[in-house]
Each structure stands twice: as C-alpha cells, then as structure tokens.
Symmetry: D2
Subunit: 162 residues, 4 copies
Amino acid sequence: MSSISTPAAPSPASATPPAAVLALTGRSDYPHFLAIPTRWMDNDVYGHVNNVVYYSYFDTVINEHLIREGGLDIHDGTVVGYCVESQCRYLAPLAFPETIDAGLRVAHLGNSSVRYEIALFREGEEVPAALGSFVHVFVARPDDHPTAIPPAIRACLERLKR
Amino acid sequence: MSSISTPAAPSPASATPPAAVLALTGRSDYPHFLAIPTRWMDNDVYGHVNNVVYYSYFDTVINEHLIREGGLDIHDGTVVGYCVESQCRYLAPLAFPETIDAGLRVAHLGNSSVRYEIALFREGEEVPAALGSFVHVFVARPDDHPTAIPPAIRACLERLKR
Amino acid sequence: MSSISTPAAPSPASATPPAAVLALTGRSDYPHFLAIPTRWMDNDVYGHVNNVVYYSYFDTVINEHLIREGGLDIHDGTVVGYCVESQCRYLAPLAFPETIDAGLRVAHLGNSSVRYEIALFREGEEVPAALGSFVHVFVARPDDHPTAIPPAIRACLERLKR
Amino acid sequence: MSSISTPAAPSPASATPPAAVLALTGRSDYPHFLAIPTRWMDNDVYGHVNNVVYYSYFDTVINEHLIREGGLDIHDGTVVGYCVESQCRYLAPLAFPETIDAGLRVAHLGNSSVRYEIALFREGEEVPAALGSFVHVFVARPDDHPTAIPPAIRACLERLKR
C-alpha cells in the first residue's frame, strides 16, 4: 500500500498524515511496546490482516499494560474502562505470520478518561504500518457512572505520557 | 471528546456528539440497512459487544452491499477495496443476543476512493448506539495501484449518497 | 478419517461420513434452527469461512436458544455453562456473504451436562455443510462446581432431544 | 475446572482422558512449540478464553510452522491445506493476559492428509489445559482435488511425528 500516498493517488493521500508528520513518529515516540504475533485467521480473503483486527491489537496492548502495570482487575475490580472512541489509519499492510510491535503512549489524561495513541510496526521497521487512537472512560462498576481513575492506574498512565 | 472528563459528563453517553447533532442522525438518514445478529463471542468480559467487533459490523454491511448490489467479486475481481481509515464513536452498549441494524450511506465519493458512514441501531431504537466511518480505496489487483472505481460499483455507491 | 488419503477419496468431501449416514441427517432431524449470516472477516485467505468460525456458529445457536427459551442469564445467573468438549467435521465450504442455517438438537442430557449436536446448512440445501458436537457442563457460579441443570433450562433442553 | 472429573461430575468426566493418560501427555511429547499470547477479546463474558478461540491457537501453531519450516505459500502456492475435522477437550480455563504454549505433533501422516495433535499449556505448567486434533487435507489449487503432500511440507511433517 506504499503507493497510496503517491501523487497518482490523491484521494487516500489525504487520509494519511503528511510524510513530515510520519517522519516524526518513530519507535522512540512510544514508551511502551508489546509484541503481538499475528494469527492465521487475522488474514482476510485479500491475504492481509483484516482492518478489524488492528483494533484487537490496540485493546490488547492497552489492557495488558493496565493489568500488569496498573493493577487493573478486569474480573472483580471496582472500575471498568469503556471504550468510547477509536480510530485507525492504515498505512501499510500486515500479514500472518508476522509479529507486530505495538507501541503505546498517552496523549491526554483527564480525571476519568484517557486518550491513548498506538502505532503498529512491522518487525525491524521504523515507519509505522498503522496509527490509532483509543479513548477509555473509567466507570464505577455498580452504576456505570464515570469515576476518577484510581491512583495505581493513573500512575501507570502518567508514565506513558509523551 | 474533550467533554468526557469534565464534571459535566455524568455518564459515558456524554462522550457523544451534542443531542442536537444526534437528533439529526436517525434511521431515515441511511438509505441501506443490514440486520446483523450478534454472536456469543462478540461479548467481552464486561458483558457487552467488544469495541473491536463494531468494525466487523462495518465492513460486513459495506462489503455485503458491494457484492450483492455492485457486483464486487472478492475472489477473482480486477479491483480490491482496501480500508485506509476507520473510526467509531461508541454511544451505547450492545450485547449478545441482540440483532443490530446497520445503516450505511456514502458521505464522499471520489475517483478511486469512497468514504462511508455507518450507524448501528439497537432493534426498535431511533437513536444510534454507534457512529462510524470507513474509507475504501480501490486498487487494481495485479499491482495494488489505486484505480478508478468500476462503473457497476460506482453506480451502487451513488445510490448510497446522502 | 482413515479414508481421506486413500485412492477412493477423490475430494475432501470423502472425509465425510458414508453417504448412508449423511442421508439420515437432514434438516428434519434438528428441532431448532437459527439463521446466522456470515461476516466479511469469517472468510480466510483461501476465500472460505475459516474452520475456527464454525465453532462460533455452534456456541451462538446454543446460547441464543438457552437465553431466549431457557432463561439462561449470562450476566447474573446462578449457573454457568462451560464447554468441555467440541468437535466438527467440515463437509463442504461456506463463504461470506452466505447466511447459514444452524440446526440444533440434544443428543444426551445428564444431570449437570448436555451434549448438543449441530448441523450447518447452506441456504436451500438439505445436506449439511458441517456436523458438530458440543458438551456443556453447568457449574454453580460461586465455586465452579458442577451442579444440576436448573429446571427451566432442563425443560428447554428436553424439547431439543432427538 | 479441575472439579469436572470428580465423582460428583460423572458426565463430563467421561469427556476427559483418565488421569493416567493425562500424566503421559506432557510437554516432552510435543516436538514443536509456539508461544501464543492471548488477546483482550479472547476472553468471553465468563472471564475465560472462549472455546472457539482455542481452535485459532490450533491453526496458528500449525500454519505458522508449515510456512516457516515447510515452505507453505498461503498466497500463491500450488497446494492448499483444508481442515476437514477438528476437535478439542477443554481441561482447564485459560484467560487473557496469559501467554499460551501450544505444542504440536503429527499423529498420522498419509499421502494427502495429516492428523495433528495439539496441546495447550499455561506458562510453567506441565499438565495441558486443552488437547486438540486437527486434520488437514492438501488439495491442488486449481481444482481442489486432494493431492500428494509436496516434499518440503512432508519433510517438515515427518519431523513432527511422535
């Protein structure tokens, strides 16, 4: 899909960030990484990872980190993180059996919500294959009302800020 | 999304567009609908349809329509539609075993690309549970270069314009 | 499955039960049906529904029925059904955008467990495209110990016996 | 789920191998392993990896190995491996964010087909959490007729025999 930003492809080009922006988005801009091996069924009929599956990489890198580093208890915890918005720009194809490096950073940290930015890199590459964002709102489990992000999770999120 | 962490945001619902905007987005704004029954595994550990799965509903309503009404041949056709951008705002939870009504319209139709807008409605409801967008770029199968949308598919997309 | 590599096995179809057996397994052998539309991402790189996804059809037809007809409460109920065994023979390919008719019957009903048999039919076809089985063990939610199937669910399962 | 083989649970017990058999099925019985990290959406509403997803681990460990060690070309190769039968016994729950060790061996190697056996182990455990089998029939791509397994793939499969 490298051709999509060439002059011959004016429409999709506008959907992708300018080269100058991409050049500024390398691995070093993401403080946390998780290696995510692709699976057979990630590939769709066109032979690439289906667009839907990218979002599974996003919520995996996010939640794995919140559980391991922030103490999020997805079974019995007092707060739950709901996704209220997500987004992805697909810059280059991925395909099974590759392993993907998912980079994660926090772009905005509010009282009860957080906006993550995710970049997916093919192994050994510096230019991302996809750029995504994801907004979590934390709610109290009994009533689903937004609640302040608990201290341990907040500390974990602070460390992801860039 | 700035409002989601303000005191004025009592529930995740406030992460949504203003009511005035939502009021303008009802079922009648979408010329095509597909009923999509949820599946057991769509639900995640929090008991709702996982955020990832919404995107599966998006590319299902789009491709089902292109195949049936536009003659898209996903196995041997001369063009392939690649997703270069997608987005979703989650306004209300969905859960198995509900059936979802997915509304589809075309917001922008270019030479080789198209931007769809999708709304997901719970059965019997007029206010969408999610609003999404999805950009397809059509490429020629041999070389993956962007190509003009074939006439039959274009005619189908024209009918989805709103 | 020994027959699949013999000279007498000209196609994958020969990996199936003898015709005499299949002839006995038609739609009328299944007391309950659910129409399950395929999704774009069900197809894998070979252009057919991925083998994994068949099992999603199985647990969807089962749980949808237990919820609607047996009163199973998957969120707060006192019992949970765990799958302890499943199996599938793939007799013919399925592909998006087909809708699949999933037939369900109960082959064995014990005190705390039930063995289902599922057949997947392509629209308008009498010969199944796949035959599966699935064993549920019901456990009490607090301690995960096997428990007697509650009366409402049992009554629902009794009606599925063949 | 260890309780499912207790005297109080006579039915499901019969679906699981006797303890003596399980004791004979350790990591050393599988010549190839692949580490498969779980994903957020693998968990279902009951908080464990959904039964369906186990099969995704199966075809991932199989196909990853055939591609890397047997030269299987899933995009343009002359042969395709179709799954004609699969099976799983679930012995213990798995859950995100665990990483699963998937062991693979070949139980039967025919002219055009192969039967794999797979065991899933939790990290650091010697007793499998699931035991599965999976039968591939290789067909020629133009006409989908069974064909002899190509030499490079056969050599790879021979090395997996136990």
